[in-house]
Structures are given as structure tokens and as C-alpha cells.
């Protein structure tokens, strides 16, 4: 019962290793290094990386920018009684998406194959931007304007749901995103 007794060899740190352990340690270490290098590798050769672009800002100034964008590029309203504006912003522009209890605002309409600078920020608590069925998931903080440059690849109607628990109506926080 040696693991629950003091080591039988007083100088246990000088005992030789068996081949099985040595070989496994070498293999495992190589694999660990491969896994580490995959991350910087993907930053250079891969296309799916989160930007390091984020700004501290206030809810008021973020709402102001969002409202200006809506005023300029609103194409219609949706969501029944909620009358959420649908915005078709120009290609390559700054697109603002508000996360708040319990709504994504406004609805975005983008073009496939074109890039947009999408801003994400919460007005209150933490929210989780979850684009389905594409399955892109990003944490949305209050006070941090997070900019991601996105290129939608396929046309279709996508959903944005909230996947960071944000209180009693968390499960009602879902919206649409159109790609034309």
C-alpha cells in the first residue's frame, strides 16, 4: 500500500524511470506543444479569430450611435408589437447591436460575402451573443464595446439567442439576423 505510505526508497527522486512513463511523458509533452502552437498558427493562417478590438464606453453613447445607424439605414420593422427596426447597413460599415434585458436591438440584415464591423455591447447585465445555427458564441459585457469583423458566408435567416444567464426572462431573449 505504498501510495498511502512514505516512499520505500528514501531517495525516491533518484530512482530511474520505467520506459512506459518516459515514453508517455515525451509523447504527451509533444502533443501539448502541438496544441499550444495551433492557437498562434490559427491567428496567422486561420480565418476565425476574435479581434482584440474593444473600447470602454458608456451605454448612452453606444445607444446614440445605434440610433444614428437605425435612423440612416432602417428598412422596415419586425417582431409584431415590439416593432423592432430592421437595419440594412452599408458593406464594411460599423454595425451596432445592443444587448439588453431581454432583447437584441435592432435586427440586422447583412449581405453574404461582405464584411461588417459588428459592435456588441450590453446595456445592463452580462449577455451571451449566440448566432445559430452558425454557432458563434461571444460574451457581451456592459461598458465594453466589442468589435468583431464578420463575413457572413451563406444567405439565410439566422437567429441570435442569449446564452449567458440574464435573469428571469433570459430564455425570451432571441432575435433574427438576415443574410441576403
Amino acid at each position: 500500500m505504498s501510495a498511502i505510505l512514505p516512499p520505500s526508497e528514501r531517495v525516491w527522486w533518484k530512482e530511474p524511470l520505467d520506459r512506459v512513463e518516459l515514453l508517455w511523458i515525451v509523447i504527451a509533452l509533444i502533443w501539448c506543444l502541438v496544441m499550444f502552437f495551433m492557437m498562434p498558427y490559427w491567428h496567422i493562417y486561420g480565418s476565425q479569430n476574435l479581434a482584440n478590438e474593444a473600447f470602454r464606453t458608456s451605454a448612452e453613447s453606444y445607444v446614440k450611435k445605434t440610433d444614428e445607424m437605425i435612423a440612416k439605414y432602417k428598412v422596415r420593422e419586425e417582431g409584431g408589437d415590439l416593432k423592432i427596426p430592421v437595419v440594412h447597413p452599408p458593406v464594411g460599415s460599423d454595425v451596432y447591436l445592443i444587448a439588453r434585458l431581454w432583447q437584441w436591438y435592432p435586427i440586422l440584415e447583412l449581405e453574404a460575402g461582405k464584411s461588417y464591423r459588428i459592435h456588441l455591447m450590453s446595456m445592463d447585465w452580462l449577455h451571451g451573443f449566440s448566432l445559430q445555427p452558425e454557432n458563434i458564441n461571444i460574451e457581451v459585457h456592459p461598458g465594453y464595446d466589442h468589435v468583431i469583423t464578420v463575413t457572413p458566408t451563406r444567405a439565410g435567416t439566422y437567429s441570435i439567442i442569449c446564452n449567458e444567464y440574464c435573469g428571469i426572462n433570459h430564455h425570451t431573449m432571441s432575435s433574427k439576423l438576415y443574410v441576403k
Partner: protein, 573 residues
């Protein structure tokens, strides 16, 4: 000396119990199991709501029950049991009196009071903020206060543990180095101190914020520091349950670690590279650079992953060597075929190792990769991961230890022995199913902590694919199996401890330490080459090596499948 130095020697194992330590171990273990019972009952509500075909609880009740389930399982059950493990590893394994048992009781009552206070706040209904309690979502002040008091109690107990180590060294109750299991427990306790310090740094300001003394808690700061507490608390579990794996191999098989050097170094890697690892929770957050994320999620080499891969080899490897020495030396796997599959202590630990490695370990590393995290962040994949690591890995290892402790510590015969044989399989397979199907649903985007995947009544609902619904249904069915296994465990432990037949111990005697506690173990002459001439291919444990390669193959395949999957989502930069 006024100190109580009463000891008893367990006649069947020769282990020495210091009576004040024994009382504390019993109290902590019993309270732990009570919290497991509470957490298990709450789990029924969680499962039967998330299983969309049943969808039992109303949303407010669901979020409340989920909060309480997380806290009672991830914190109260596990940490109480770990306190018993710490006392066992220090006092019993070192044959030493417990330092300041009265402080151990102070710690115990603080922990119990804190746990009850926290449960009270959740019960009030205004603190359904989940285990993570992310500011600026606020809970009732007693929520934070309960956790703080609990943590102070746990800290006191850690220092009772450290004090006991010092006493053992001073009084020379052991020779040479501490046993490997004690070394693992020390690792757990050191990580616990770091964990509690991080918890204090974030929870004390949050408490002050909740009573109105601080105006603002930054959400990113909260998440960064909170996870140094939240994830490290689970690293205590890893260290503790790996120590329990080694203890199980030693108790059931008389297994000797393949090499003390390797196993101890692996524990040391946990201290250096595991406890700070909260960065993998922040991979999808703004305000932190990729450099910071990549470095801190891996420390450039994933050395904590390496440590777990080493333990995953050395524990079964030591079992293999012990079995081969007993004569089960044919072929690659005779040692495994002839293992005592009907012994619940072994079965629990073996399933714990397999599920922790294959489901918990691989999924954990995948999630902790900067870019891959995008695919599963905050989906139900995440609880899938930790139901493999904590709910199966740690919990099942502790269950296995209980089967050993009932006769040894509580001096009771294990009741319902026939049922006990099956319990680890039913719980382990059920919980592995829960983990696996949650991961499946998470891969399809099903969110965690979410009352309604049907989005009923929403103006703009999302329709999940049928497979996601199927996965959630299978998760529910697996959970029912796991509940059965959990109920069997509770029936066996509660039955044995409170109503079981006492073991009459002819060898039972109180021994004063002054009269000589117990003879120091005689050094055993090691066979040449460390483990004698068992095994093949120049390896002492070739069967384990093959299993390890199977694990590596699964790991590599799954890892790159996810990169492939990532390469197909919308380009982002």
C-alpha cells in the same frame, strides 16, 4: 500533555486513527453527503425542466433550483468531503495527532453556517444568480456573506491540515517523505488557499456592493477574478480525486506508484500551472488580448494537461504492475480482465479515471483553446464537460473512497452489498451519458442555464434541429439512470453509517501517543529495476500504454475535428 492523544488502529488495514480527527472526518463526510442529497434532489428539478418533453418547473423556480443545485454540488458537497480527505491524508496516513482539533470544529461550523446562509439566500427567491453570480446582476447580501463565511471556515481547516503536517514532522511520526496521497492532498490544500484568497478578493467587494457601500463592480474584472476562485475550486477537486485514485490503487491492489518522482512532479505541475488557469473562461470576452488569452490558457505548454495525462497513465499503470505481480501477467489485458470488477471501490475509481479522461479531459482542452471556444462558449457543452470531470470524475472517486471508509472509519459493515456492486456502474454510466449528451446538444448550440429551448411565445423564436431535442431527451433519460445510482449510493451510505451492523474490532484499542503511536513502516526492499520483471516490450505496464495510446488517438482526432468545424463558420477577425 492536555492534548487528546487518543488513537485507534484499524484491525483490517492497520491504519491509525486519531480520535478527534476521526470525529471531524465523520462530521465532514456526513455533512458532505447531506449536501449531495440536497444537490441531487435539486438536480431532478433541473433535469426534468431541461428535458423539453417534460419541462416541469416554471422559469423562476427553475433558475432558483439551478442556482442551488450548482452551489450545493460544486461547492458544499465537494469541499466538505475534501475536508475529510485532508484530515485523513494528514492525520491518518501520517499516523499523527490532528493539530488543534477545536479549530477544526470552528472551521466546520463556519462552513456549515456559511453553506446554510447561502442556501437560505437562494431559498428567499431573490438570489437566483447561479453559481457564478456575475456582477452586475446582484444577489441578496447573505448570498455572498454565506460564501465568504464558508470560505473562511474552509481556510481554517486548511491550516489545521498544514499544522498537522508540521506536527507530524516535529514528532517524527513518519520517516522520509510524506506518502504520495498526502502529497496530493497538500497540492489540493495549497490550491484551496489560492482559491479562497481569490474568492475573498472578489466576493468581499461584491458583498459590500450588495449592501450599497461600493458603487460599481466591473463585469470583466468580476469574471477575471471570480474564475480564479471558480475554476481553482474545481482544481482542488482534481488534485483531491487524483490523490484518491492513488489511494484506491494502493488500498485495493497494494499498488506501488510507478515512480514517486513522476507522480509528485505531476502534482507539482498542478500547483504551478493549474490554479491560475481561469483564462479559459474568458476566451470569448472583450478587453483581453489574444496574447493574454493564449498564454494564460496554456502557459505555452499545457503543463497541467500534461500532469493529468501523466496521472492517467500512472494510476492504471501501477494497478497493472500490481496485478501482473500477482500472476495476471499474460498478454496485454489479463490484469484488467481479472480486476475486481465487483468491488465498488475499484469500479468507482476505474470509471472515474476513464470518464474524467475521455469525456472530461478531452472536452476541457478543446473548450480551453482560444478559437475553438467560440463554438461552445456558454452552450450546454460546458456543463457537459464538468459533469464528466466533477460529477463523474470527482464524485465517483469520492464514492469509491466511501466504500473504503465505511468499514475503516465508521466501523460499519457496508449495507446492501449486492446493490453496492452495481452502484458505481449505474451512477457512472448514467452520468457519463448526461455529460456526453449535453456535449452533443452544446455542439448544436443549445444554451446552458436556459429555461426554454422551444422559445414558446417569443416573437422571433429559434428552432433547434431535431437532433438537439433528441440529445436533450437522452440527457434526461441518462440523468434518471444517474439519479438511481445516486439514490443507491445514499441508501448504502446512510444505511450503513446510521443503521449498519457495527464491526466488532477485537484489535480495537486506545493507544496513547506517549506509549508509541505505531511502528514506523519498515522500508521495503525494492526489486531490481523498480518493479521487477513483469510486463513486456521493455515496459512494466504495456497494457496501460496501449490504453493511453487509444486515449491519445481519441484526443487528437476530436481536437482536429473541432478545428475543421471551426474552419467552416463565418470568418471573424
Amino acid at each position: 500533555m492536555a492534548t487528546n492523544r487518543m488513537f485507534r488502529t484499524c484491525p483490517s488495514t492497520g491504519l491509525v486513527f486519531h480520535e478527534p480527527a476521526e470525529k471531524l472526518m465523520k462530521a465532514n463526510a456526513v455533512v458532505a453527503v447531506v449536501f449531495l442529497l440536497i444537490g441531487g434532489l435539486l438536480a431532478i428539478g433541473v433535469t426534468l425542466t431541461r428535458w423539453q418533453a417534460v419541462h416541469w418547473l416554471a422559469p423562476d423556480r427553475f433558475y432558483q433550483v439551478l442556482t442551488a443545485h450548482g452551489l450545493n454540488m460544486l461547492v458544499f458537497w465537494i469541499i466538505f468531503f475534501e475536508m475529510a480527505v485532508l484530515y485523513f491524508a494528514a492525520s491518518t496516513l501520517l499516523k499523527c495527532r490532528l493539530a488543534t482539533p477545536s479549530m477544526g470544529w470552528v472551521g466546520f461550523w463556519l462552513m456549515l453556517f456559511g453553506a446554510l446562509l447561502n442556501n437560505y439566500s437562494v431559498l428567499r427567491g431573490d438570489s437566483s444568480v447561479m453559481f457564478t453570480s456575475y456582477a452586475p446582476m446582484g444577489a441578496h447580501p447573505t448570498f455572498y456573506l454565506g460564501l465568504i463565511v464558508f470560505a473562511v471556515g474552509a481556510l481554517v481547516n486548511c491550516f489545521v491540515f498544514f499544522g498537522t503536517l508540521a506536527v507530524a514532522k516535529n514528532e517524527r511520526t513518519y520517516h522520509g517523505s510524506v506518502p504520495l496521497v498526502t502529497f496530493g492532498a497538500i497540492t489540493a490544500a495549497i490550491i484551496a488557499v489560492f482559491t479562497i484568497a481569490s474568492g475573498a478578493i472578489i466576493l468581499i467587494p461584491t458583498f459590500l456592493w450588495s449592501v450599497g457601500l461600493i458603487e460599481h463592480i466591473d463585469s470583466l474584472m468580476y469574471r477575471t477574478i471570480w474564475w480564479a476562485f471558480g475554476h481553482s475550486s474545481q482544481q482542488i477537486n482534481v488534485s483531491a480525486h487524483v490523490a484518491v485514485w492513488y489511494a484506491g490503487a494502493a488500498v485495493v491492489f497494494g499498488a506501488k506508484p510507478l515512480s514517486e518522482k513522476v507522480s509528485r512532479t505531476a502534482f507539482l505541475l498542478y500547483i504551478f500551472f493549474l490554479q491560475l488557469a481561469s483564462a479559459h473562461h474568458l476566451l470569448a470576452d472583450p478587453g483581453l488580448t489574444s496574447n493574454w488569452k493564449i498564454f494564460n490558457t496554456s502557459y505555452a505548454m499545457y503543463l497541467a494537461v500534461l500532469a493529468s495525462m501523466v496521472h492517467g497513465l500512472t494510476v492504471p499503470g501501477s494497478i497493472e504492475v500490481a496485478q501482473r505481480k500477482k500472476g495476471y501477467n499474460n498478454g496485454l489485458f489479463e490484469w484488467l480482465r481479472k480486476a475486481p470488477w465487483g468491488n465498488p471501490a475499484f469500479a468507482a475509481i476505474f470509471i472515474s479515471i476513464i470518464v474524467f479522461g475521455f469525456l472530461g479531459g478531452i472536452s476541457g482542452v478543446m473548450m480551453g483553446t482560444e478559437q475553438l471556444n467560440l463554438l461552445i462558449h456558454n452552450t450546454i457543452y460546458v456543463p457537459g464537460h464538468f459533469h464528466a470531470t466533477v460529477a463523474t470524475g470527482t464524485t465517483l472517486a469520492f464514492m469509491g473512497l466511501t466504500y473504503f471508509l465505511i468499514p475503516v472509519l465508521f466501523r460499519k459493515q457496508v449495507m446492501f452489498a449486492g446493490m453496492a456492486k452495481w452502484q458505481p456502474y449505474i451512477f457512472g454510466i448514467g452520468m457519463a451519458g448526461v455529460a456526453l449528451f449535453m456535449m452533443g446538444a452544446g455542439t448544436l448550440g443549445v444554451p446552458r442555464r436556459h429555461w426554454d429551448m422551444a422559445f414558446t411565445g417569443n416573437a422571433m423564436p429559434y428552432e433547434f434541429p431535431g437532433t438537439a431535442w433528441l440529445m436533450m431527451g437522452l440527457m434526461g433519460i441518462s440523468a434518471l439512470v444517474a439519479f438511481l445510482g445516486g439514490a443507491m449510493y445514499l441508501a448504502i451510505t446512510v444505511g450503513s453509517v446510521f443503521f449498519g451492523k457495527s464491526i466488532e474490532t477485537p484489535g480495537f484499542k486506545h493507544v496513547r501517543a506517549a506509549d508509541g503511536v505505531a511502528p514506523a513502516p519498515q522500508p521495503v526492499a525494492a526489486a531490481a529495476g523498480g518493479h521487477g520483471n513483469v510486463g513486456s516490450w521493455g515496459m512494466v505496464a504495456p497494457g496501460t500504454f496501449v490504453l493511453a495510446l487509444v486515449f491519445l488517438g481519441a484526443f487528437v482526432l476530436y481536437y482536429f475535428v473541432n478545428w475543421k468545424y471551426l474552419s467552416q463558420v463565418w470568418p471573424l477577425r
